[in-house]
Symmetry: C2
Subunit: 491 residues, 2 copies
């Protein structure tokens, strides 16, 4: 299982792809750019969904569902949105097939051509704001705080499992507010929900900030984002939250009667994370032995493997193993007891190591005699022999330690790989030699941003929130600047 895959140093991209495929997380499908998410990968996604869904509800949101298809004309209504989204997308033009003349298959029925083409949603602002128009009459109808779990399609030419696929799964929140202040606050609240999720659950430290105008969502006034650093020194945007101003309300004519009995346009936000988070999760923690999954999101948190020579030994071991399993499950810990006799213990050890199960418990005949078990942790690969007494408490504690260690390790990595850079040669050198986050002065112009991107492929990932003011000179143009921003090459 675990054999025959690339190390990070050899080929990081291949290492990532090998992990995804060989750990049974996902694979490419017969449809170009669309992936199959396999049960083990989907189980992680279900945990991500469950935690986020609870956080959305705790912050007052409800789920709903809007159509998969959007009439083509809707995309022309918001001027900047059409530039950003209407281009690379799946277009439905017909609604019927018929038997082919040769009787050997089916062909598109040209008589069943749609009057107006339908676009498979790349994001749902347009169809949702078209719907909100009928829901909102007065300030009493506001705020509307809705989230949707859905699939979306963006016809990407170069795809990578989880990181960039034509179809992906995501959630998209779409809220409507009576005032600008409330909408801005909502966008910031959801950024913090994402950041807390990334740090507490995914064990990935993130920088909270806003995007430069060039990197904003098409149609947004302000795009908030959390940015994470992967082990190869590239950045990954792990969630965005947009303050949309009144742009979509104006495009779809959504007005409300305010408390002063005057008509005004509604204020909007949208925010989303996607199955891309799976890519971040895999890349942030895993190593050359395989996946490393933070305990809080691991489908299997503890695996118990018996080591036995005969049925009699297995019976004895199973008694202890099942008792441990039961005591762990009472603490809400998910446990797999793998007593299959079709695979050897060694095979199982590397299998679960490869699949990133946080803790492996091994029980052999001598353990039974001595009242011990061997406990191995996936993050450090350390093993220790523990007394069975209070093993449930010890393991619960160890899971917390692993979660914390993964976060600390990722944070230390980020700190080691964040560089204050003050001249252009150094900027290029750091990017090429180590990568990472480059904290550098920028003159605030789109021209400079574009030139930096053209010359180095690095982009402004984020202008950190509460960024300290600091007088300096733009790393590229030398023009005056009053703050540093974070540059990186990115996924």
């Amino acid at each position: 299982m675990a054999k025959d895959f690339s190390t990070r140093a050899e080929n990081y991209a291949q290492w990532y792809n090998d992990l995804v495929i060989k750990a049974d997380l996902a694979e490419n499908s017969a449809v170009r750019g669309c992936m199959v998410i396999k049960p083990y990968g989907y189980a992680i996604w279900e945990r991500i969904q469950a935690v986020l869904d609870r956080k959305f509800k705790d912050t007052g949101h409800s789920n709903a569902y809007f159509p998969l298809f959007i009439p083509k004309s809707f995309f022309s209504k918001e001027a900047s949105h059409v530039e950003g989204f209407a281009k690379e997308c799946a277009v439905v033009t017909h609604y019927r097939l018929k038997s082919s003349p040769d009787g050997k298959g089916v062909v598109v029925d040209e008589d069943a051509k749609l009057e107006e083409e339908l676009i498979v949603r790349p994001t749902s602002e347009t169809i949702i704001w078209d719907t909100y128009r009928n829901w909102i009459k007065s300030y009493r109808d506001l705020p509307i705080l809705i989230n949707q779990w859905a699939n979306v399609v963006r016809w990407e030419m170069r795809t990578r499992l989880f990181l960039r696929t034509a179809e992906f799964l995501w959630q998209e929140g779409h809220t409507a507010h009576a005032t600008m202040e409330e909408a801005v606050k909502e966008a910031e609240t959801m950024l913090n929900v994402y950041a807390d999720f990334a740090e507490t659950w995914m064990a990935i430290p993130v920088i909270r900030g806003v995007k430069s105008p060039a990197e904003r969502f098409a149609g947004a006034i302000e795009t908030y984002a959390i940015e994470a650093l992967m082990q190869d020194g590239k950045a990954l945007q792990a969630g965005t939250s947009h303050f949309l101003g009144q742009n979509f309300a104006k495009a779809f004519d959504v007005k409300y009667l305010n408390k002063e009995n005057q008509l005004d346009y509604v204020w909007a936000t949208s925010w989303g994370v996607s199955t891309r988070l799976m890519g971040a999760l895999i890349m942030a923690h895993s190593d050359d032995h395989g996946l490393v999954i933070p305990p809080k999101l691991a489908p299997i948190q503890v695996v118990i493997v018996p080591v036995f020579k005969n049925a009699e030994q297995l019976t004895l071991i199973s008694e202890t193993a099942l008792s441990i399993k039961s005591s762990l499950e009472k603490r809400g810990i998910s446990v797999k007891y793998d007593d299959r006799d079709t695979h050897k213990p060694g095979w199982k050890f590397s299998e679960y190591e490869f699949k990133g199960v946080p803790i492996r418990v091994i029980i052999g005949p001598r353990d039974i005699e001595q009242g011990t078990v061997e406990v191995a942790r996936r993050d450090t690969l350390e093993k220790e022999v523990l007394q069975i007494t209070d093993i449930d408490i010890k393991i619960e504690h160890l899971l917390d330690q692993i979660q914390k260690n993964l976060y600390d390790r990722a944070l230390a990595f980020r700190e080691e790989n964040t560089f204050r850079v003050d001249n252009w040669e150094e900027f290029k050198k750091v990017l090429d030699e180590t990568g990472g986050f480059l904290s550098a002065h920028w003159d605030g112009t789109a021209e400079t941003e574009i030139k930096i991107k053209e010359e180095t492929k690095a982009t402004i990932r984020v202008i950190p929130l509460n960024n300290p003011r600091e007088t300096g000179k733009c790393v590229y143009s030398g023009k005056p600047s009053d703050q540093r921003v974070i540059f990186a090459r990115a996924y």
Copy 2:
């Protein structure tokens, strides 16, 4: 809110539509045939999902996700499947839009035409079996027990909210087995999961059975189904489970090495329920006062409404109300305390009655003095004044009673509306005058089935499982028959 909607007697179809729209469950969208599921409707669907998902996992299944799109050629591979599914469907032909020459919108980019058209999945057997081919090598890889929660599209010409929409949400299980016996058992197990869910959670009694050959799923050897009776005497198919034999394995060349080291085709099942269940739930229990939702699926199980004249009274009442709310929530009961001063109590009473909240608790100043509350149940509209002592236990018990009463009422209705019919004139008369389930002899031929359908619009809903053998004559042809089957007009 509740005013101005049709009664069942006046216009059943209109009553249903009014309920769905005015109780904020769903509405039609800007896209023909596609619905918007609103937060209150979606909250019920989420409960349905949560319960079913738990049942699927308890029976050994895992979730996964397969592509939204299916290459057109896949539909030609299973001969009967193409007839049943490849016809009315959404066809993606292009993958890009471009700015229109007049600069005023977007048009389809004719240069971005797909080599092979993609079909938006109407059901996923084809893409899944194409994928399973690579997953299955030997009997050790079996069984595969996978479920998917997804959206699907069937281009229906006449749509009705929840009951028949172009896009709908569903789950589809797709399993692969080494033996026929195991696959048949799986199909039956899932039929029983659906039946138990319908009866225990939705409070809808169902008849378990198999479909006649003409009503089978396209590609199935046997289609198992549960059939429910609505209040207008029409049947509604509430779930299907298909034994697919080796049809899809043969179509997609999925073979495995059995224990005897010989190659054989894999055996398959598929099974699904959809947002159509929402239609069944609404129609089975609701009345001329609005929705009636079984407690086990109600997003709000108990609403507490304070009746007060001033802030001082509200403060006193709120103290008691919040204490009751908290004690109910400890029992896992979902409670809403509606202390808004923007709406009068009478408005709130009819609002929650219309929305089908199972129990309404009213607390006024005199209740506080006397240590009582008024409790109204939605199913019977009965009210009683109860002492606050142990109110949590009393309400929990009442929720159980309501759940049971809804089931009993629906069962009594079905029994009153199931008729043993032995001649053709009576068959037509019963159908026209009362509707309901008609238990009648059938000669077993497709010709008779088609003629009955043509003359009466009634179809064979189901041949009940464990059907008693009984010698008789076909109600239509007079030919010999050895069992009765269930006819009805259906949704």
